[in-house]
Amino acid sequence: MSTELDDETLQRFYDGDLSPVEERVVQARIEREPAAQRRLQELERLSAWIQVSADEVGAGLDSDAMFAAIERQIAADEKANPGRGLRVVAGAWASSQRRVLWPLVAVAAAAAVAMLTLSSGPGDEAARNAPKREKTRVAAHTQEAPARPRVHGTRVERVDFGNSTGTVFEIDSEGVATAVVWIADDEEETP
């Protein structure tokens, strides 16, 4: 096929933001295209690693102790410099926490990406193909089906979607491919 499933559509599919019909279109496309399956699995893996890392970072933080330390520091500053009028304003704690968290999250995300890169080597074929979601499982199942020779059918050679968002895929009926182009229609219908 001449067009790849774009990242935005794949991400929206992963996030569950597509309409039911669009989802079926994209799912059918993923079932047919190993490249799209790999990209979806990478997306799932990256998301899982980031989630795990964020959980680990969150679990390692003693927020009560951190807040107490901040309060102690504020009290000490107030005692040392009574004229400065230092006060705790709304959001100060969250802001402090964010300052601490962001570098940790960045490190965790970098570690996740590094792990992802390392784990996608040739020796990890089974793990790469291991489905994590129903959508991927269907795709993997279809991928295993033996390809049947096509004696008839239709095939999209080229498509220009212009400003539209579209998906190209094939329906397989007993070895005969039927080309389908699905294009989202964003404009209101002309009366």
Binding site: A28, V159, T190
Partner: protein, 166 residues
Amino acid sequence: MIAGRSVFGRRRWLGATLLLGALGLAVQGVGSQARAEDAAKTASAQVTLILGHTDGTGVSPELEKIEALKKAPFDAFPRKALLKKVDLTIGIGSSQEVELPNGRKLKLSVLERNAAGGYRVSISINKPGQQDYLPVMTVVAAPGDPFFVAGQKHEGGTLIVGVSVR
């Protein structure tokens, strides 16, 4: 001799018959060749307009035999109604337009006939004078096998446009 005249008469009759027959076959041959040449220069196309709904049930009987419509993603529409079938004769290298119920026009061009007897066709679907939906797509199609363009909104449903060329 009566018998001699009879034989001579039969021969003349037979010769004339054979001559007429040969002439007829020649004329028929020329006609067939002309028809074949005409057929090679044109293609018969059919555009099928279907409206799919995600609510309700029921499929127009004419659509039941189209296997592709029973599969994903078209099985997401439990209700499918045949709106119109349009038969076209299009010259190779020529185009024809079909007006869609949502105001857009489908332009179908038969670009060429390939060695396997199939066709390269292109279609575009746009509002008149605009390129608002599908600027152009090119499809290679075996004779009579359909392809589909779907997704346009219409009357609360989704338009499914099927095209086949033979």
